[in-house]
Symmetry: C2
Subunit: 103 residues, 2 copies
DNA sequence: TCTATATTTCTATAAATATAGAAGCGTCAA
DNA sequence: TTGACGCTTCTATATTTATAGAAATATAGA
């Protein structure tokens, strides 16, 4: 993870629509949710959400998998963890007391 | 910490200039560094940096203190920790394995 | 094939952002 | 009080971003 990836990742989390998307997906099962269902739950037009999902995907924070007509989106927890680790270890230089990261 | 504050915080970390500012300050002493010195080290015009510092300050990630003509900026590690915690606990719902946060 | 459903891409637009020159403000020392 | 220094604010501009309507693509079923 370099600075470029990191800033892209933080940018991806910098709007409520996208943050709520991540929150919703993190609480959904292993397979995540299909695009349309996310849009419905967040009350956002499907095409608008689709572009936000594309952005999250470009940042590497979500994975997608098509199943028939539906495209399931799920959080990439490993990517999210790397983003946290970059902030804690590389940026804050380990000075955030009380935070421990294995691996 | 609510979603609004969180998105503002992540937005603050979403450019290399600001991320490098945080990295630099995190590695500087308790009192941080004066604005001009940050600008010099990052090779950015002082007025440009000043606005980025204002943005970081608005997001609550840095503290400032004037000493004579100089204004020292320092990372607010507590705020940074809250931002990490929000991501780990509220967004990822504790599903980031191997990350532990006290308090 | 034809139709309905699910999603994405194209396109346009309004708003926000990054950047830096110029000007202004606050502080210090002589 | 004058001048220099450090920093910020004002202003302008180019770029990026968020948003959503309209059109296009992909899949499933009859």
């Amino acid at each position: 993870m370099d600075a470029k990836q990191a800033t892209q990742g933080y940018a991806a989390l910098s709007t409520e629509v996208r943050l709520n998307t991540i929150k919703l997906l993190a609480r959904s099962g292993e397979d995540g949710l299909p695009s349309g269902e996310i849009a419905r739950k967040l009350k956002i037009p499907a095409n608008s959400l689709s572009q936000q999902l594309a952005l999250l995907s470009a940042a590497g924070l979500v994975k997608q998998e098509r199943e028939g007509r539906k495209v399931f989106y799920a959080v990439d927890f490993d990517a999210l963890k790397k983003l946290v680790k970059f902030l804690v270890s590389d940026c804050a230089a380990g000075r955030l007391k009380g935070i421990r990261i294995d691996g």
